[in-house]
Symmetry: C2
Subunit: 423 residues, 2 copies
């Protein structure tokens, strides 16, 4: 008999159906038993005769039964179980009680048992929202003439020099995990003009904070033939709108379950870095350097929310001292580099890049680098690289701030951090 | 003035347009110059006055000019250049002549200069076809209720034991690059029932052949609540049809340019491994072991093409000795594991997996493994894993065989092999 999904039951009242899923919860009332069956589409109440020996929760099962209306049951429906078959019995109770999933529980415990805690409704909803955002990312860019690329994660050198790299033993050679597809997406601008990549990046940062991951999903974009970085920010604005609309279209019940607060997508102002710095110092009395730390970004986000009612804030014209050598210099100490803050958290770094060989050599030297060490990078710029720019969105941070998650780790299925390599 | 793409010119005859792209080729006829401009959408002929000093090919440029018909020009159109602006001049001639791209050239040279050789029409078309196949993969699975997942590439142990792993220095710990998302996609079946992932995998194999890559794009699928592996093969058949249809829909001119031979998508027969072995030995007089080598696969592919007119051939019921411990055993030395050959090249391994804890322990022991070394893996199976199975498609091999490429490296933007770490 054909399987029915829980989400399809509302049209099946009176009929006999076959369900498959997990024993989410059970309760023995003496004369009768109630249980909840969970499948990928939802949860439904089962009424089970008293002599049936229900196994431990999380057992996988198949149920044949009649769909009936019951105003008191969750969703107004229940299934009178006639036949139960246990496809795989749980051997012991789950270390995390799935129906009692509590986000304020010790995060280390949730992460330790991630292979079952992911079955919780909120954990499932979170990663489902992320998948929808990523789908929206690709759909929008495909429609704008972008080509998806797949660049190497095993590289011979870092995009920004030698720091924060994980070393790999590559046969007889030393190699590294790519901390960004930066050079490769620039090369691909010379090939397809407009490219994107959805792939993991790796940062050997020592931080152990609620906003850092050592492996995360980077949504990378790069486009050629731009006038300046404003075109890149225009693209990112429209892209974010499309991504969030795709989430609203396809995972609205997940957004509701998680209590996601819908952001202001109409306005995403662009504040010059120098002006942002002035605001932090003069209006918010915060001591700030050339690069903003976590606290400064949070304060700036709160300021923009209060003053302008916005959730997304571009900080533009970053100073050269706070940017890598490939940021396009304005010639006055500023660059065409920007960050995007979402609710006070940096989710993007981007900007126009240097596209001329001569200027790249100058910028490398200005930063105290020997151009000879960047020969492979420089070579590419001998062959007509048009003015170009791009950005990368951290998928987990975007998800975190959209859903109000206390820790970015919850936006990754199996997070890697300073100490965590398992599960 | 708004930019026009080359592909849009046919509707603009008589109008003045602005084009952007690269100087693909140039020729000075004394009284007049001809040039070709290449953008992401195509190539068009430019007529340029004799006194204009055209730079080296591959320079990035912007051209303003009138679109006129000329039956002798490629595509029947040309642009009379009125204003030319060079956005980035090439500093030296490209080491690979882009318009003369020749696939039979020394592959090492093409790969060495990949950052420019990728600009060739065929190289661009190849990776464009691959992107379309991947898009078709996601679209089909999304429509079938699958959820996209993103699993870690930094892992603490190999999915199949310790061989062919690249070691990473992960802070104070030893870690490895994931050779497959096997365990993680199985865990995610417990979460979403049906999952897929598009991500790089890493194999420290010593081979240096035309069909091996040390880093490649794996299109992974896993689904729960199956009856047996036939359901998994059914899914893969329909998925491949959808992927190829998406390519035909969206990149038909690239397929034509590359002379892709359309495969038989109607029939993808399933041949049991024992029978395949008999055919190899008796009908093709080849000595074969329990696992088939490259030569045997090629012979089998040719046999199936000649006998049945098919391009895709499943080899099912692989023997236990040739499969990892998690392959579901039939109890008679066979498993529910299969390979899929495409034109004689293995592009997929898949099958039903063991879902019961007890059986997994048995299978590990049978293979001489200490279950204690697989404690993390085993733990997952204590919590009701339904019957499930899946497969992985090697994106580059699929692309290679579809397009008839002589080497799988051409199906990867920046291949990594035994010796190659750059560009």
């Amino acid at each position: 008999m054909e399987r029915t999904l829980v989400s399809e039951l509302s049209g099946m009242v009176g009929k006999t159906v076959t369900l498959q899923g997990w024993l989410h919860w059970k309760r023995d009332l003496g004369g009768i038993q109630f249980a909840l069956l969970r499948d990928r589409s939802g949860i439904v109440q089962l009424v089970v005769e008293k002599d049936v020996d229900l196994p431990i929760a999380e057992s996988a099962m198949e149920v044949r039964g009649q769909v009936v209306q019951n105003a008191k049951a969750p969703g107004g429906l229940e299934v009178l179980a006639q036949e139960l078959q246990f496809l795989a019995r749980a051997l012991e109770p789950s270390p995390i009680e799935i129906p009692k999933e509590e986000w304020r529980a010790n995060p280390e415990t949730l992460l330790e048992y991630r292979y079952v805690s992911l079955r919780g409704e909120k954990a499932r909803a979170t990663l489902k929202v992320q998948a929808a955002l990523v789908r929206g990312f690709r759909q929008y860019l495909d429609a704008q003439g972008f080509t998806e690329i797949f660049t190497p994660k095993i590289v011979s050198a870092g995009a920004e020099g030698g720091s924060n790299l994980f070393p790999i033993d590559y046969f007889e050679q030393r190699a590294y995990l790519a901390q960004s597809p930066q050079l490769y997406k620039q090369i691909m601008v010379g090939v397809y003009e407009r490219v994107y990549e959805v792939a993991p990046v790796f940062r050997a940062e020592q931080h152990a904070t609620s906003r850092h991951l050592n492996e995360y999903l980077s949504l990378d974009v790069e486009m050629g033939f731009i006038r300046d970085e404003n075109e890149v920010m225009d693209l990112e604005e429209n892209l974010l709108r499309a991504m969030l609309e795709e989430a609203r279209r396809s995972v609205s019940s997940e957004l509701e379950l998680l209590g996601a607060e819908w952001p202001n997508l109409t306005e995403m102002p662009r504040l010059e870095h120098a002006e942002a710095r002035r605001i932090l110092r003069e209006e918010l009395s915060m001591p700030v350097g050339q690069d903003f730390n976590e606290e400064a970004e949070r304060a700036l986000g709160a300021w923009a929310k209060e003053r302008w009612g916005v959730d997304f804030l571009f900080v533009s014209k970053y100073p050269e001292v706070a940017r890598p050598f490939y940021a396009y210099p304005e010639g006055d100490g500023r660059t065409r580099g920007f960050d995007l803050l979402f609710r006070g958290l940096e989710i993007t770094s981007g900007g126009q890049r240097v596209h001329e060989h001569r200027m790249l050599v100058e910028q490398l030297e200005k930063k105290g680098n020997d151009p000879a060490n960047f020969a492979g990078y420089l070579e590419v710029f001998k062959f007509g690289m048009p003015p170009h720019g791009g950005f990368a969105i951290g998928a987990e941070r975007l998800t975190q701030k959209l859903l109000g998650l206390p820790n970015v780790r919850y936006a990754r299925a199996f997070p890697r951090d300073r100490h965590r390599l398992t599960p």
